[in-house]
């Protein structure tokens, strides 16, 4: 065990995977020599050589396209899109090629590819460095989509993603890289180095894709959330004094339906929280599956707390960001319903 930040845990997953499997290659913008803008690939080029960890030009479509070709021919590329906001040039490659090549080739060709993308806000990045585009990815059959919320999960899910035979998108909430940010932007964040969830196993271990975790058990209501919002939900739970069960979904596609059903059947109340804009966000899907599977157990309408339906703002970021106050208000509302 070692105490790691999320960045170090992600770096460690790369390191272990490259050590275990020669087919693993790692590349992206500033990924090689520079070690990644967030340092998630630091030291890999030195250790494994520039044929296995290297810089790509600034061309996201080309990066993903080339990685798909590598994957189809037996390599296991792990690429970084520097910010999830930069994925749009690569979206055609992700949707039309990566996600579809297995189906289209009748299983002859597969795409064991991992695309990592720092996601989400809370860093004053404005509209092109703060977005949460998960719903654009969960809408695509043929992809898997994961989003860890702590160093241990970040390593375990990335290892599982690299081991997986299909394309996996790993969304990394960049506001969590150094500590569990709970939405109280005016208070210091406890660094992962001093946090229980910063304890990460050395070597290889994986957390199965498609399994949610109960971050905090409770009986009053169920929170379905992921990424940064896990900690915002926790802050709101503490501040309201309610016995909130917080489910960290960890994998958005495929969804852990059993876990969702079990929890909501138990509590009868469900609040869904995400940073992304509300309309057609992933919360809409969650809301639909909850009412489909738990309708007769529900004591209150399923409620969403999300980013607003606006571009991610530069000024007034904390008004947009669904912080503890908005989440607490939703908790109270579903309890009173």
């Amino acid at each position: 065990m070692a105490q790691m930040t999320m960045i170090e845990a992600i770096q460690s997953a790369h390191d272990v995977a490259m050590d275990r499997d020669e087919r693993v290659v790692v590349f992206g913008e500033d990924v090689g020599y520079f070690g990644g803008v967030f340092r998630c690939t630091a030291g890999l080029q030195e250790k494994y050589g520039s044929h296995r960890c290297f810089d790509a030009p600034i061309n996201e479509s080309g990066i993903v396209g080339a990685a798909i070709g590598m994957a189809a021919y037996g390599l296991k590329p792990v690429v970084e899109i520097q910010f999830a906001d930069y994925m749009y040039p690569a979206y055609d490659q992700i949707v039309s090629e990566a996600a579809r090549i297995r189906h289209r080739s009748n299983g002859d060709f597969t795409c064991p590819l991992v695309i990592r993308m720092p996601t989400g806000g809370g860093i004053f990045g404005g509209q092109t460095h703060s977005q949460s585009p998960e719903a654009l990815l969960t809408h695509v059959s043929g992809l898997k989509v994961v989003i860890p919320s702590n160093p241990r999960d970040a390593k375990g899910l990335l290892m599982a993603a690299i081991d997986d035979p299909d394309p996996v998108i790993v969304l990394e909430p960049k506001r969590l890289y150094n500590g569990p940010f709970d939405g109280h932007h005016d208070r210091p964040v406890v660094p992962w180095k001093k946090h229980a969830l910063g304890d990460v196993d050395d070597g290889h271990f994986s957390i199965p894709l498609g399994e949610a975790a109960i971050y905090r058990p409770g009986s009053d209501l169920t929170v379905l959330t992921y990424g940064t919002m896990v900690y915002v939900a926790e802050a709101a739970a503490n501040e309201t004094g309610l016995d909130v069960e917080i489910m960290d979904l960890r994998t958005l596609l495929p969804l852990d339906m059993d876990a969702i059903e079990t929890s909501v059947a138990k509590t009868g109340r469900c609040v869904i929280i995400h940073e992304a804009t509300r309309t057609s966000g992933f919360g809409a899907e969650l809301s639909a599956v909850v009412q489909e599977t738990c309708f007769y157990a529900l004591e209150a309408p399923v409620t969403r707390v999300c980013g607003w339906d606006t571009p991610y703002p530069h000024a007034q970021e904390w008004a947009y960001f669904p912080g503890p106050d908005r989440v607490a208000a939703a908790f109270r509302a579903v309890m009173e319903a």
Partner: protein
């Protein structure tokens, strides 16, 4: 349909850039031009220094890409532009806005996210615009503005207005696929656009040599029959002469030109840059030997077009403008929360 005999393809001259433009000699500046260039570059320099300070003090958050070192590029080009010519650029955009005569206050207040900013604080450092000054933005996505520049140029041609769109991007953006789609359309349709590649040698932390198979970006248009040449982007006179030629070519209906400005940024890519990808000596050498502002200053003194004291007075005037902008940007209120819901769609 009648079949037409196909013409034999014309033989291209080996090595020559089709279109045959080459870098002109640096312009001979008059006293007025030298002093204008000096003042305009100094304004950008002092503005950016102040922005860096405000960032350090916590007034500016997130991203802030300073233009220090590259001032000659946008200054020389703006000296060659005509009224109504447009500018569009990427995210290192503060200098471009000042060169387009946008107000220092409005730019600085956008950096601090205040309502007096050009985008009411909603855009931030990388995302601001001014229709009045024909500035089509700051764009945060690398290379995404290049196609827009071609589109603006198309509109110029369609309206037959005689205007040219200066479309700026960096050596990093020059590897984006959409840049080449834009090149093709611009040349195919003979659009009045000048593609200005600001080659500052580093795409964030990755040097040109580590990211680019052909490092002479001026020749990236050869396959699209776009003429191009490299220019000393640290010498404002060289930039001005190059811009005169390129803008004239584009304006005359001959189609696009690529001008690669060989320049250098002194500061980090953004504000958190470990700068491990280059040596301090390299930066220092550029600063001490090639600084665009010092070059003008030396010529002005040598020609006796101004004394040290007179140049200091210009600096004082520029510092006052910047201080006023900084004061405004720190004290102007934030936009109201309700502003986040404005300007998303046309309100009924």
């Amino acid at each position: 349909m009648a079949t037409r005999a196909r013409k034999a393809p014309a033989k291209s001259k080996a090595g020559a850039n089709k279109g045959g433009l080459s870098a002109p000699k640096p312009a001979e500046f008059t006293k007025d031009e030298e002093l204008t260039a000096y003042r305009d570059m100094l304004l950008i320099r002092r503005f950016e220094e102040k922005a860096g300070q405000l960032y350090g003090m916590g007034f500016i958050g997130g991203f802030c890409h300073l233009y220090i070192g590259q001032e000659a590029v946008v200054t020389g080009i703006s000296m060659a532009m005509e009224d109504g010519d447009q500018t569009i650029t990427t995210y290192r955009d503060h200098g471009h806005m000042l060169a387009m005569d946008m107000e220092s206050r409005g730019v600085m207040a956008e950096l601090t996210g205040r309502r007096g900013g050009y985008s009411k604080g909603k855009g931030g450092s990388m995302h601001m615009f001014s229709k009045e000054k024909n500035f089509y933005g700051g764009h945060g996505i690398v290379g995404a503005n290049v196609s827009l520049g071609a589109g603006i140029a198309f509109a110029n041609k369609y309206r037959d207005n005689g205007k040219v769109c200066c479309t700026y991007f960096g050596d990093g953006a020059a590897n984006q696929g959409q840049v080449y789609e834009s090149f093709n359309m611009a040349s195919l349709w003979k659009l009045p656009v000048v593609f200005v590649i600001e080659n500052n040698r580093y795409a964030m932390g990755t040097s040109v040599a580590r990211s680019s198979a052909e490092t002479d970006f001026s020749q990236r248009g050869v396959s699209f029959k776009i003429p191009g040449f490299q220019v000393d982007g640290m010498d404002v006179r060289a930039v001005k002469a190059a811009a005169d030629l390129a803008l004239g070519h584009a304006r005359s209906g001959e189609g696009p030109v690529i001008v690669e400005m060989m320049t250098y940024r002194y500061r980090g890519h953004s504000m958190s840059d470990p700068a491990k990808y280059r040596t301090k000596d390299e930066v220092q050498k550029m600063r001490s030997e090639r600084d665009p502002i010092e070059q003008v200053k030396a010529r002005v003194i040598e020609q006796k077009w101004a004394t040290e004291d007179e140049l200091k007075a210009i600096d004082k005037e520029v510092r006052a403008i910047v201080a006023d902008a900084a004061e405004f940007a720190q004290n102007d209120p934030e936009p109201d929360v309700s502003e986040l819901y404005t300007d998303i769609l046309l309100e009924a």
